[in-house]
Symmetry: C2
Subunit: 462 residues, 2 copies
Amino acid sequence: MNELTGAIGVPRDAQKEWVRGRARVMAVPDRSRQVIPACVGPVQHGASMVARHPVTGQCLTAETDDAPPVDVDLARCYVPVHSRWTSPTATIKGGRMAKLTIRDIAALSGLSKSTVSLVLNNSPKVDPATRRHVLAVMRRNRYVPSFAATALAKGSTRLIGMVVPGLSWHMVASINLGVAAVTEQHGFDIILYTATNDRDYGSLIDRVLTSSMSSGLLVVSHEQPLEPLVQLHQEGMPVVLVNTIDADVALPSVTADNYDGARTAMDHLMQLGHERIACVQGLMRYRCCQDRYRAYLDALREAGIQPDPELTKPGDFVPEQIRARSRELFALPADQRPTAVFAQSDVTAYGVMTAAAEAGLRVPEDVSVLGFDDIESAAQIRPPLTTIQQPFVEMGKRAAELLLSEIGTNDDDPGTGAEPVGEKPLADLPRLVMPTSLIVRASCGPAPVTRSRRGRSQTTKA
Amino acid sequence: MNELTGAIGVPRDAQKEWVRGRARVMAVPDRSRQVIPACVGPVQHGASMVARHPVTGQCLTAETDDAPPVDVDLARCYVPVHSRWTSPTATIKGGRMAKLTIRDIAALSGLSKSTVSLVLNNSPKVDPATRRHVLAVMRRNRYVPSFAATALAKGSTRLIGMVVPGLSWHMVASINLGVAAVTEQHGFDIILYTATNDRDYGSLIDRVLTSSMSSGLLVVSHEQPLEPLVQLHQEGMPVVLVNTIDADVALPSVTADNYDGARTAMDHLMQLGHERIACVQGLMRYRCCQDRYRAYLDALREAGIQPDPELTKPGDFVPEQIRARSRELFALPADQRPTAVFAQSDVTAYGVMTAAAEAGLRVPEDVSVLGFDDIESAAQIRPPLTTIQQPFVEMGKRAAELLLSEIGTNDDDPGTGAEPVGEKPLADLPRLVMPTSLIVRASCGPAPVTRSRRGRSQTTKA
DNA sequence: CTGAAAGCGCTTACAG
DNA sequence: CTGAAAGCGCTTACAG
């Protein structure tokens, strides 16, 4: 009996055969790609060597090439010997176990691949008992279908791409929570593309397309031109914008009702008796900031108050600028100074509050400050910030639902994926606008009495 | 000439043929899955109809079934007619264009699939001119290789899974930034698994395994038992823990140096003359919080100060509790009251500052407050928070690098993937501990003079 | 209800 | 340097 030293291989011509009852295996040199070192077990049955199936643990007897085949009973330890063991990709490296395939499960459960596949796909055509049996075999052997093979055969990946900006993570986090909740429900996974800066974004979109692996795209607060996406969408790729920054793009979108939110904020302030209300703006090239500012102006005008241009300050979401502009606000003579400030974001509000403190003004006694977003720390700072909450989680959910319906999940609903898209008019694209909510905390109080009845105009010249 | 009304199909037996020079195509009924409505173009060359290749725009003449084939010169408008057009997955729905395959590129450039594939894989064996030509054809036709097919053939997905908790998003965001930077560099993409709550986590891990699509796993701040992951890792799946919460898990990990960070924090406070320093703890079942607390105690002891148990308060990262426990701290008689508080997180520090304000104490004049994390708003609040910054971005980068080296990217480095993993001793697992940095802002000041020289013990009983 | 066969779109030895 | 062929692990009509 030849003493082998740890290598067992399968002869090429045996690769496609299932070995039952009798094993015909040869020894191969160590450096061969056919070596299966991890599978070598103790000598048994008088054969020269035994290979152990890496996952099932079942045995395959082996012998040297020149020795005659040894007759052993392998009926009870069925072992699939197929090319998997010797194929390049399946080469067992680092002791990593070879993965079972549908073939193994078929063999192990005594059925054909087709039947196993039908079980895998919940086909009603399979006998319940058969089904249970196959499922048991799978579970016992920790079988996991190959994602790539399934995707290739089915022609779809159950993967959606989510493109997010490198910053604004409170928002991204909440949106993701919503998205994850619904994608999980439908058996989709998310592949995350993070735009780290402007330069990367173009190549990022390229990547998304190049990888060709997502069935749809969720684009969060894009900072970059959307033409490539529009084109993609017209070619049939499902795309949904969440919290879009542009105004009128020919793409389905989910946004917060920024106008209404800002109106609510202004109403709250005016109900507290404020009339000289300042606005520290965000990035005015964003649609959302434009909407919030429009609401600010409209609210004042409808209350019969002429907006004072002195009370509008650009902040651009840049901390230093926010503070500098706010200081100007608080350096105004007492009768021209605002009694309340509507900040277009919570972080902006923080800057306003800092400037107020520097000017010796108390919040909310001397000046009220109202934010937008309701970020995590808004409730924790002093004083807790009154703000407008954006429904990011809900927005994420709705966006994911929209996207999945465009993709057409193979659940019950057929999806709209079958409709032609190309020339759809702008008006027909779904555009969800989600309501915001006012979160009343402590940073807004009644307008100081001395100034609250000064007349119906913000401008001192009126 | 038969008038067709918009449907062109390919006869079954022609599916595998490339049609050169002469097209033999038949009309099919509208409801047939062979219909290619989007491809119908104007009549040309005396044929009854012309189909336009959906992507290349090239033409295929067609005629009714019973009409004789029309002889046209298609040599210059080469058209691949293969099963792709009529296969179930390729059915053109919603006007979505059929995707080009490697076959089309091969035909379009007059080469074999193999050569095109070699070009795709940057093989040096291809003639540079050939290469350029093929690349040009691909670009012109916007060819994108099928991700699924590549993954199946290559046996690897270039996808890594990232498991993140539903909360703590500042951290997740920063870590992701780092991870994304390095994965992008190596052509890997991230698939994001969000653990929304405890109950979901188990099934989430199941999903990760079941989907079988990632080549490796990055687990961020896991909240759940790690046994399944350890087992997975021993079976050969690359796994790296980032910011792990447990102490000694048999898994490679990247963490911040919490002990050292806390020591630095304490040193800063003590250099400012503080001796009665309180600690508001985070979740003490977390390794990081234990380390920070150990550092707190060690720092005091090494300075010859006996830690006063009264000055240690559990906060558990719960805002209400943090505030309540902090109030107890500030309700202490003046000589027992801490002059500084080391909060185990920035949000915890916010709670401490709120309680201080409620107690009429000024920060930092009456009491200094020091945080941990350096979250976004730490610089924006009043007063700006002095804190320990965790190098999350860097941690993400290193973790990704670690993971990729375990996977063995097919770049130049062979990776460590070839080594056996199974029985690796704990000590051999890579465990990166990244340095933190002290960010000095305004929330810490010198200890109040009246109490700064009271002797070397925190306890009043000493 | 089950099996044999062809196909999904790539990659990769193996021959020329 | 290029091409023909087999293979990756699934799915899906099509016959029984």
